[in-house]
Structure formats: structure tokens, C-alpha cells
Amino acid sequence: MRLLSRIRWLPVYLGAFMVFLYFPILLLPLFSFNTGVVAAFPLKGFTTRWYVQLFDNQVMLGAAWNSLMVGLAVSITSTVLAICAARAITRYKFPGQKPATGLIMAPLFLPEIIVAVSMLLVLLQIGIQLSLLTVILGQIVFCLPYSMSVLIAGFEGFDRSLEEASLDLGETAMGTFRRVTLPVVAPAILSSLLVSFTISLDEFLLAFFLSGTETTLPVYIWGQLRFAAKLPEVLALGSLMMTASVILLTVAEIVRRRAEKRVMARGGPNA
């Protein structure tokens, strides 16, 4: 009993947490280089065959390309929309401000499957063909609240007199937005692009319900899981996606910190 009470439980908990969270993810690349088709120990041998096969798979490449395009379209559109909304909300007082904000943020709390099914019903009723475009539209609605939270935080730290100073120095409203507002909130914009891109990249439900003949990667992966022989390929794909997102996030964070450091003077955000 004395021994038990001497154990420090916090590190034990932390250890268990880390193993549960990251061990499966580490297994992914491990099995992707395994010769055997079944993902199980003991490992049989090292091979890069699955990766070679993957890059010969035209359907997979198509799905990856689709994901990239959808991700770019969604992140850019939702960020642009969120810039406008966040600026309006942080800058002006207008009737219906609170309800409007609430409605934009609502998809954050609504069960995604309900949103997906309702959208599908409406689109079918109107008679719109399901395609990547409908996936993009659905995901924009879904990503907007995330972009908004990031950008509202960015705009709230923004000193209004910076824009007034720009106007006072002869710049137009548009020019002020381009020369002062955008560069100063650049870190927040970058975060918003990144967050919505990563959300879009692994979003499954909307992509599954709203896509037509062409699919995105998560939907493709889900489809492949039905075939046991395809599993190693999926593992290889998963490993690649993971590596890509780690690299992307690292680069983006470095860029963001640099931009933030530049702007961190008094008079900038967090002034």
C-alpha cells in the first residue's frame, strides 16, 4: 500500500495518454513499410512496394488532387468571407450583430451528420448536381466558424488609429486595407487558411454525402478499407499525408511566428 501511494500518478496518466494518442499513429508508417499484407506483428520484412503501387494508382492520385483543390478553395473562400465578417463584427455596432455572429458560429455546435444530411436533401430538392463544388460549399459553411474565431481574435487586437493614420496620410479606404490592415492581421489570416485547409483535408461526412462521381481522399480511403489487400496502400497513403501535414504545420507556424514578431510592436496586435 505504501508503495502504491508513493507512485506519482500524473506522469503515469500522461504516459498512458501519449501511448493511446500517438502509438497507433506511429504504427501507420511502420506497417506501411512491412512486406506482409496484414497489419500485424511480427513484421515480415522491409519494402517500399506499397508506395510504388500507390503512385501508380490513378484513382488515388485523382482523389488526392481533388482534396488539394477542394482544400484550397475552401480555405481561401472561408478565410476571405471570415475576414469581412470578423472585421465588421469587431469594428462596427449594427442591429442583429449578436444573432448574426451566433448563426455564423452555429455549425461548430451542430452535429455534422445532421448538417450533411440536410444539405444533401436541400441540394437534391433544388436539383443541383452533386459534385466537388457542392463539397466545397458544404465545407465552407463548416470551416467558417473556425476561420472566424481565429480572425476575430486577430482583429480585436488591432489598433483602430492605424487605419485612421493611413487615411490621414492620404491613402484611400481600399489602399488602407491593402497596405495596413492586411499586413498587420497577416498572422491571423495565415492561421485561418491553415486551419480551414487541414479541416477540409480530412473532412469526411460532408465530402461523403455531397460528392458526386469524384471523391476526396478521406472518402477514397474509406472506400478502400473494404478490400483487405488494399490496406498496406492505405497505410502508405496515410503516412504520406501525416508527413505532409506535419511539414505544412511546421512551416506555417514558423512563418506565422515571424510575421507576428514583426507586428508585435506597441500599436500592433496585443498592444
Binding site: D168, T172, G267
Partner: protein, 367 residues
Amino acid sequence: MPDVKPMIEIRNVSRHFGTFRALDQINLDVAAGEFFSLLGPSGCGKTTLLRMLAGLDTPTSGTISIDGADCTEVRANQRPTNMVFQSYAIFPHLNVAENVAYGLKRMRLGRVEEARRVDEALEMVRLPGFGARKGNELSGGQRQRVALARALVMRPKVLLLDEPLSALDKKLREEMQTELRTLQQSVGITFVLVTHDQYEALALSDRIAVMFGGQIAQVASPMEIYQRPTTRKVADFLGGMNFLRGRIAAEAGAALTVETERFGTATLTKPPGFTASGGRATVGIRPERLRVLWDGERAEHELTGRIANRAYFGETTSLSVAIDGLEAPLSIVETNTFGADELNIGAEVRLAFDPEALVLMADPDAR
């Protein structure tokens, strides 16, 4: 003021926010090349008025002309004015030179001319060679100079300054005051300064407008506004004042013969807006216009009292002297040349005053 067309003409300008009157029927002229201050407590409308001159706010009614041209409806980016903001508003993503060049970029001066003007402006505010610095590498005083250079480089007809020294510590503030005054005289641009610091306004300005509750209470030179305040409120805002009760004995035009308790009878000028209520009047005398008499020294007008309180300020001592027959003790400021710092509470002192220093003030709140 010279008899030429004023640089700024403000006519019947009001600004209402809902039912709140931030500015109420303001009329004001500022001469070309003048250093003009808008002085008042926070919420008196001085900043609103300044922002209207900049074009960052529009009057609800009334007109504003700058250099003879009506610019009530002209946008901020089209006006011949530039502003130094209270927060300085240094663009954090640009360095010092880029900040100063910000407004020049639209003029398309060419790289050489632009660089020359930036250098010239930085020279003017004594920041030569600071061009490559980032905004966050500057001290408060330096940021203030950059904001000044950024506005002056545009060669505005009017430079607007919104509490430019309030963020600086005392020593730096006094240094910048002198510099600001010198700079204004060398560039010859009309300066309009907003401040709540009466010493700043007195030290810098050619003329001061004191504002309360959206209205101008008095416009005058620093000396006149300090020595001849027309209302009790203005007198109070500009520094210490001993308020006394007087009784009007005779009236002849603008001259009133007032009998002031313990200070005797004096002929005083009636300030504009003055109305005597039941023959009573409010009279005042500044603390430094009262003087302690030492040893056998005599004066034509003397008062005797006891020291009720004292505060030591290094170069001066502030004394509070109770006089028989006066409701409140008189406050006096004495330099410590003759030993005012050695007077003890309870000691008897004789005070000298000059009836010329008494002022008659309008006091709408008097009983």
C-alpha cells in the same frame, strides 16, 4: 492676431451622438502659423473637434474651412491636414523610413526625392539614421518623433496633435515640449494641439481655447487665460485659485467696484457673460500672487493669519493660511528663497497682496 484670413474657421459646429451633445455650436478661428491648443477635461469634446479638423469625424451641423476652402464634407485623405495620434499609430509592419514615407508613396515623387524628404523629416525630429529601425525597437519619445516626422513630411497646412505627450514620462515630456515649440516656429505650420494638461497648453501655445461640456469657455493667450479667467471653472482648471466672496458696490459700464471680504474695495473688469446675482460676485486671486512678509517688511495691502497646513515641494512650499473672517484658508505658493520651508503649522504670518491681481469671474453655480 494679424488681420488676414484665418487658416481654420469653425462656424456653428455641433456634433451630437444620439441625444448627447459632444460639441455644441462651436465658433473658432485659428490664424496661420499659430500654435493653438484645445484644453479641457476628458469628455469636453476637444478630441472630437480635432478629429473633425482631420476629417475623421463629421459635424452634425456647421461648417469647417481650412485655408479659405470649405472642407466640412472633404474626406480625411483629401485634406491639407495631418495628425499625430495619441497612440502614435506607428505601422508595426514597417520600419521607420517606410513609416515616414507612407504618405509620400501616393505622391509618386520618385525614389531619390522621396528618400531625400524622408531623411529631411527624420533630421527635423532629430532621428537621423533611424530609418532602418523597426517600430518595436524605439522608445516612447522616439516613436513620438517618428509620428511627428511622418505627419510633417507631408507638408500639411495644419498639423493636428492629439495629446502627443501624455504617454511620456515627466522629464521627457518637458524636453519634448520645448522641442515641439521650436519645431513649430521653424516650420511655421499651424499647429492645433489637444491636451488636458494645463501646463502643457500654457507652455506651448500662442492661444488656448478652454472647453467644458462641448462648449468653448474662453479663448485667450496663455497669460491672459491664466491671469484673467472669465469664469470660475476656467480659473479652477488652469491651476490653484483662492475664491473669495465679493459684494458689488458700484457699476460703471464694464468696470465694477467690488468689495471683497478682507481684501477691501477694488475696481475690477466685468468678464463677458458676467451676471451679478443679488449683488454678489466671485472674486479670485492666484496663490503665487500672495506673498509672505518677512520681519519688519511692510506692504500697502496686508493680511494676517496662521499657517493651517503646509506641503513641501523642493523648490517651493505650498502654505495654507487661515485668515479671520474668511471661510476657507488662503493657499499660497512661496519659493523657498527666504525660508518658507521653515515656517511651522500654527505660526503667525503676514501676507501682502496687490489688488490688481484680483479677478472677477462669472460663476453661474454660485449661491
